[in-house]
Symmetry: C2
Subunit: 418 residues, 2 copies
C-alpha cells in the first residue's frame, strides 16, 4: 500500500468512526478514557521497551540531550499520562448542549447545539505524551483523531496507540476513533494537508518550522498554535521589585515553552535604576542578556542585540532587552515583533494598564503578572490541546470546548418562506 | 505599480487602519454607517451612471440575463443598500463585551473580551450590493475590509467604494477602513491568498468555483461559505400536504440561492401517494424533475437522474427526486452528497425527528420546515455576511458577532508561576 493510500485509508476510517462517535453518550466516552488510562498502566513495560528503542536510536543519532529528555518515557511519566486521561474523564461533556433556543415570530423554534468538529488531525513533534493527551481531549469532545508524531518517537507512539486504541474499542468506541499515521516520510504529512474530504481540522504542535509548513500547505482548515515571541514592558510607573520578580519568572521559570518571555522592554525613566540589578539577577541564573545601545550603556557585559533578536523566540536562557522612550514606543515595538501570543505590562498606572489591554493585539494581555500563566490549566479550562495564536475559531488556550462546533436545529410545523 | 505592489499597499493600509478602528467607540462607527447611507443616496446618479457602464459592457459581452439582473442597480436597489447600512447601525456593537471574568485561586482576574478579527478580505462575484453590505457589517464589528469584486461590476464597485469610503473617513473612521482592489486580473486575488501578514481572514462569496479556488490556494485563514446541495426527506410518517407545501417552497420560492432544495428523498411507503401530485405541482411551476428508476416507474414525464445530479447544486428550476427504502437510506444518501448546509426531514414521528437532528451533520437541520429559512435575518441574527458551511469559527448564517474574535485579559498584582 502506498503512503498516500495508507493515509487516506486511516483518515477515511477515522471519518467513518466520527459519525458514530458524535452521538455516543458521555458515559461510554468516559469509560473509554478510564479504560485507556488503565491500559497504559497495565502495558507500561511494553511501552517502556518500545520507548527504549526510540531512545537508543536517538542516542545513536546524537539527538541533543533536551530532545532525548522530551522523548524519554518513565513509569512516572506514563502514570502522569494515565492521570491526564482520568482528569479529562471528569470534565463536563460539552456535546449536546443547546446554547440558545428561541421561538421566532413565525413559530419556528431555532436553537444552536454543540457538536463535535468531526476528525481532528494532530501533527506534532517529539513528546510521546502528546499522543495520549491529544487523543483524550479529542475523544472527550466526540471527535476522532488522526495522529502523526515525529519519526524520533515512532516506536513509542505505535505502542501507545496500540494500547489506547484497543482499550477504547473494547470500551465501546467505534473502531478508527484513534488512528496513527505510521509512515515517518514527509510525504505522509503532505497527504494529510489535502484530505478535506476526511479531516475537519489540522492542529500542528511543535516549532515554527512545522507550524509554517502546515499553515502554508494545508487546504484543510488549520488552527495555528504556539509560537510565542512574548514581551514584558516595564513602565515608568512600575513597581520595580514586582517587575524584577515577574521578569525572572517569565524568562527563567521554564524556558522551552511558548509563554516564556523573550524580550523585555524598559521605559527610559526607570532603566538606570532597574536594569543593573535585573541583569545581574538574570546572569546569576545563567541567562544571556542581549541589549540595544542604551542597555549596553547602562550595564556592562551585555551582548549587542541584533534586529533578528527582536523577532526570535529563543526558547532558551536568552533575553533581549530594549530601552524605550515611552509607552507608545513599547506598544509599537510589540506591534512589530509580537506573534500575538502573550504580552504583559508592569505598571501601577490605572490608565496605562487599561490602555495596554485595550490596544495590544494578542491571545492574552497581562497587567502585573508573568506571561507564563497562558495555559489551559492556569486559566481554569482544564487540559489544553494547544494555544491558538490565530484569530479564527479559538484564541489562546484551547480546551475541550474549543474542539467543538455548533449546528442550528430548527423545529417547525410546516413553515414555508414568504 | 505592479498588481502585487498595489494589493500589498491596500492591504497594508487596511491593516494599519484596523489598529485604530479596533478601539473606536460604537458612536463613531454608527455615525459612519449612517453617513455612508446618506452618501449613497446623495451620489446615486453618479453610481447609476457607473453601473450603466458595467451593464453596457455586460450586454456587449452577452452576459446571461440572470447575471445582468444581479449586476443592475436601480434607485430602489441603492435605497435598499442604504437602508441595510442604517439597519446595521441599529445593531448592538459586539466589541468590548467582557464575556467572562473569573478570579482564579491565585488572585488573577482572567476575562475574555470580544475584539475585532482585524482585516477581512471579501472576494465576491457580480452583485454590487455585496460591496456595501460586507463593508457595513465588517465596520460595525470594528474590522477594516479589503474588497475584491468581479470584473463585470468593476465600475459600480469603484463608484460605490469611492462614495462610502469618503463618507466613512469624514465621519471619523481611519483612512484605509474600506479598500477596494481595483485590478480585475486573477493575479490580484492570488496575491490576497498569501497576505497572512496583513489579512486576518478571507471570506469568498460566490459559486463553487470561486470558493474552491480560495480554499485550495489561500494560506490566509478562510471561512467557506455558501455552497448548498440541500435535501428534504419525506418520511413514511410525513403529513403529505405539509410535505407538498414545503417541497414547493424549498424548491421554487427562489431557486438561485444556496438554501434552496436540490434533491427530494421520498420514503417508498408514501412514494406512490405523494409523487404523482407533487411532480405535477412542480411541473406546473416550470420545474424540471429528474428521478431515479422508481420515481420514473411511478410518474411519467420524468427525466432520468444521473449520478452527477445527486451531487449538483442546480440553483435553477430543477429537482432531483429519489425513492428510498428507509430512514437510514435517506440519511446515508444525505451523508454522501450533502454539502452540510441545510437538510430537512418531514415527519410526524417524534423519534425520527430527533434522530434526524442528532445525526445529520449540517449547518442547519430542519424538522417540518423549508430549508429556505437558513438566513441571518430569518434566524434573528440580523444581516449576514454569508452562510458558513465549514466547522471552524462559525457555522451557518454569520452576522456581526461572527466577525469578531476574543482575547484574554489578565489583571494581576505581581503573580508569578510556581
Amino acid at each position: 500500500m502506498s503512503i498516500k493510500e495508507n493515509v487516506v485509508k486511516k483518515s477515511k476510517r477515522a471519518n467513518e468512526a466520527a459519525k458514530d462517535l458524535a452521538n455516543l453518550g458521555s458515559e461510554i466516552k468516559n469509560e473509554a478514557l478510564l479504560a485507556m488510562a488503565d491500559a497504559l498502566l497495565d502495558r507500561k513495560d511494553y511501552i517502556l521497551e518500545e520507548n527504549e528503542k526510540d531512545m537508543e536510536y536517538g542516542r545513536e543519532n546524537d539527538l541533543p540531550e533536551s530532545l532525548l529528555d522530551r522523548l524519554l518515557l518513565t513509569e512516572d511519566r506514563i502514570e502522569k499520562m494515565a492521570n491526564g486521561l482520568r482528569e479529562v474523564a471528569q470534565f463536563d461533556d460539552p456535546i449536546g448542549e443547546m446554547m440558545e433556543m428561541k421561538k421566532r415570530p413565525n413559530g419556528l423554534k431555532i436553537g444552536k447545539v454543540k457538536v463535535p468538529l468531526g476528525v481532528i488531525g494532530i501533527i506534532y513533534e517529539a513528546r510521546p505524551n502528546v499522543t495520549v493527551d491529544a487523543a483524550g481531549l479529542c475523544l472527550k469532545a466526540g471527535n476522532t483523531v488522526v495522529l502523526r508524531g515525529s519519526s524520533s518517537a515512532i516506536n513509542s507512539n505505535k505502542a501507545i496507540v496500540k494500547v489506547i486504541a484497543k482499550a477504547a474499542y473494547q470500551a465501546g468506541l467505534p473502531e478508527g476513533s484513534i488512528e496513527l499515521i505510521e509512515s515517518t516520510e514527509r510525504k505522509a504529512v503532505q497527504e494529510m494537508f489535502k484530505l478535506n474530504d476526511y479531516l475537519d481540522v489540522l492542529i500542528p504542535r511543535g516549532g515554527a518550522g512545522l507550524i509554517n509548513a502546515v499553515v502554508n500547505n494545508s487546504t484543510v482548515p488549520v488552527i495555528e498554535t504556539g509560537v510565542g515571541n512574548c514581551h514584558t514592558y516595564v513602565d515608568s510607573e512600575a513597581d520595580l521589585d514586582m517587575a524584577t520578580e515577574i521578569t525572572i519568572n517569565a524568562k527563567t521559570q521554564r524556558t522551552g515553552v511558548c509563554n516564556a518571555m523573550e524580550t523585555l522592554l524598559v521605559h527610559q525613566d526607570v532603566a538606570e535604576e532597574f536594569l543593573p540589578q535585573m541583569v545581574d539577577e538574570l546572569q546569576q541564573r545563567d541567562t544571556t542578556v542581549k541589549g540595544d545601545d542604551r542597555v549596553q550603556e547602562i550595564v556592562d557585559d551585555v551582548q549587542a542585540a541584533s534586529e533578528e533578536d527582536w523577532a526570535t523566540e529563543f526558547l532558551d536562557y536568552i533575553l533581549a532587552i530594549k530601552v524605550v522612550d515611552s509607552f507608545d514606543a513599547a506598544v509599537e515595538h510589540i506591534d512589530e515583533y509580537s506573534t500575538k501570543h502573550s504580552e504583559a505590562i508592569i505598571t501601577e498606572n490605572y490608565t496605562k494598564a487599561h490602555k495596554f489591554t485595550d490596544i495590544i493585539d494578542a491571545a492574552a494581555v497581562y497587567v502585573n503578572a508573568s506571561t507564563r500563566f497562558t495555559d489551559g490549566g492556569q486559566f481554569g479550562l482544564g487540559a489544553e490541546i494547544g494555544i491558538s495564536t490565530q484569530k479564527l475559531h479559538a484564541r489562546g488556550p484551547m480546551g475541550v470546548n474549543e474542539l467543538t462546533t455548533t449546528k442550528f436545529i430548527v423545529f417547525g410545523e410546516g413553515q414555508v418562506r414568504e
